[in-house]
């Protein structure tokens, strides 16, 4: 191909092909292919070689032991339940705290609103690890926060219930608390975005037609913010359920969460098939509903 034809090709079609293909190929190679490898590993067999995996051998080519064990072995099953329940509680708490905050943000004056929004986003820009760490400092046995809670508790309960300190660290409570803390901005921001878009005259119309403010909230505001609730819920629930850092730092080691189990199976136990099988199951549980939801969402948008 001579240079002129090359230039012609580039002007007409080539530039758009390159625009699409460069990121496309990158994602296929460094995101999809690794994931296909995980799916492949999940049906392999653990061996004491390096890498610690083989196909065939004692088992037929496809070994489904990993998947069987995720359900049959109570360790894995319990880890799944712990993760889903903790993430679920954290999501609900984020919604209960985040919704009034997001609604409050839409009601304050414009200059205040910008400052407060900045304050919501600010923690998001600071290190996630350090935000978890900040709570480690507060929850520890001898911290001022724990001491304050302890004396408060000892004041209000009978003397026989008195404690030396509130056992917060290394519990599922701590995991949920820190999850709420770290993921709350992910709930507030989409909620704020969907609440801010609502037309305030709709509220006035409902007031005008005889609804009291709380009825207006239930009839007009809440139904229209459901997309925001779902978006925020997914942004909190999915990463929380697969969380590794929080349970490692503040969680209860005797009831591990699934992210921790995957990591341990992979690194410590060197059981790649097991780690991969759990990862695939987790992904189907988490991302499956999200994909379905966005599919139906797109369909509903399309029909408008």
């Amino acid at each position: 191909m001579d240079r002129k034809r090359l230039a012609l090709w580039f002007d007409r079609k080539g530039w758009s092909d390159i625009l699409i293909l460069a990121p496309y190929v990158w994602l296929l190679l460094f995101f999809l292919l690794p994931f296909i490898i995980v799916v492949g590993m999940s049906v392999g067999t653990k061996t004491p070689t390096a890498p610690p995996i083989s196909f065939g051998g004692d088992y037929p080519l496809i070994n489904l032991q990993g998947y069987v064990r995720t359900v049959a072995d109570s360790l894995y099953f319990r880890a799944f339940i712990t993760s889903l329940v903790s993430a679920g509680i954290a999501t609900v708490l984020c919604l209960l705290i985040g919704y009034p905050m997001a609604l409050g943000l839409t009601r304050v004056s414009r200059s205040w609103r910008n400052i407060l929004l900045m304050l919501v986003i600010l923690p998001f820009w600071t290190s996630f690890l350090l935000r978890v760490y900040a709570w480690m400092g507060l929850m520890g046995k001898s911290s001022w926060f724990n001491a304050g809670l302890t004396s408060l508790w000892n004041d209000i309960v009978p003397a026989s219930w008195a404690v030396e300190f509130v056992p917060m660290m290394h519990s599922n409570f701590a995991v949920v608390l820190v999850m709420v803390y770290t993921y709350l901005p992910f709930m507030i921001l989409p909620l704020y975005a969907s609440l801010e878009r609502l037309d305030p005259t709709l509220d006035e119309a409902a007031l005008d037609l005889g609804s009291k403010p709380w009825q207006v909230f239930l009839d007009v505001t809440l139904p229209q913010s459901i997309p925001g609730i779902i978006a925020g819920g997914m942004l909190v629930f999915i990463p929380a359920a697969g969380e590794l850092v929080i349970p490692t730092l503040v969680g209860d080691a005797s009831s591990p969460m699934i992210g921790r189990v995957i990591s341990d199976q992979f690194s410590a136990a060197r059981d790649w098939p097991m780690a991969s099988a759990i990862a695939v199951v987790l992904l189907v549980l988490m991302v499956g509903p999200a994909v379905l939801y966005s599919h139906f969402q797109a369909k509903a948008e399309g029909s408008k």
Binding site: T201, L202, E204, L207, D208, G210, Q215, V220, Q224
Partner: protein, 366 residues
Amino acid sequence: MAAAEPFLRIENISKSFGTFQAVRNVSLNVEKGEIFSLLGGSGCGKTTLLRMLAGFEEPSGGKIYLDGRDMTGVAPWDRPVHMMFQSYALFPHMTVEKNIGYGLKHEKLSPQQKADRVREMLELVQLVPYATRKPHQISGGQRQRVALARALARQPKLLLLDEPLAALDKKLRERTQFELMAIQARTGVTFIVVTHDQEEAMTLSDRIAVMDKGEVKQVGSPGDIYEFPNSRFVADFIGSITSFPATILARSEAQLRLSVPALGGDVVARDVPGLSEGQDATVSIRPEKLHISRDRPEGANAFPGKVKDLAYFGKDSLYRVVLSSGALVQAHAVNASRGGEASRAPGWDDQVWISFDPASAIVLAE
């Protein structure tokens, strides 16, 4: 009881936002079953007044009485006053019938009665086939009717319409005007319309209040306001008009004689009470009250000039005539005849005479 209490009595209402006075000391009476318009440009306070009637704004001073009841401190949801919003404010997540039935939630009616009322409203605005559509699935004109039906469903004492026709295109607007009037006549509900469009106000209303800078300038029937404006502002705001400064020379036999230098002579007009000789005044005249002719007409109030500009509309023409003083007047002429050279209408640069009846001149003491 003294003279019959008006249905809606607005008494010395004021509203300020910070240092800005949106509404200043407005008093109005509205009778039951009227279509009453608040007319004015943007920022004249008409919308604020409407929002005070709906209960969205609390007046800074004054009182509102509806059907004898003081509305001070009554929450929007407790007022028998409903509003048709300029944006219509239809609930996007509810169907047409849910929207219309929304206010009925708060009425003690059986489900059957509510369904019947919704049905009745759908029939009133001719939207029965669209009952289960969502607002984004119907046209702008249909949305407007849903908003109207929704506001009427609870049978309010007062219906507030905020720029009801502004969002519609011109053709639809004309048709909808008559529909609105028909629906008002059928339901007998008192309508208060806020509009910036004088034509809309003129065709729709029984009475109009013209507002400017938070004050009511004049209240009257469309005819009163057009033919007998009480101020330069009202005269200029409604329709087109040409005004000249004048000085009163004499008052006699219910007639005024004024010197109008811009017209190049004296004008005879009907007497207006409260004026005195030697006082400065304004003479205004509407274009359709001016006659234009090639020959000098009989009687007073005739002035020579030259056609400077001419817009031919078919049924009528608009002339801009420059007078000997250099002043411009606008004159409207109906093209009543068609034919030969003798009756040919004046054209560009023709020497013409303009004249008007003494009763047509509006004399204002400003």
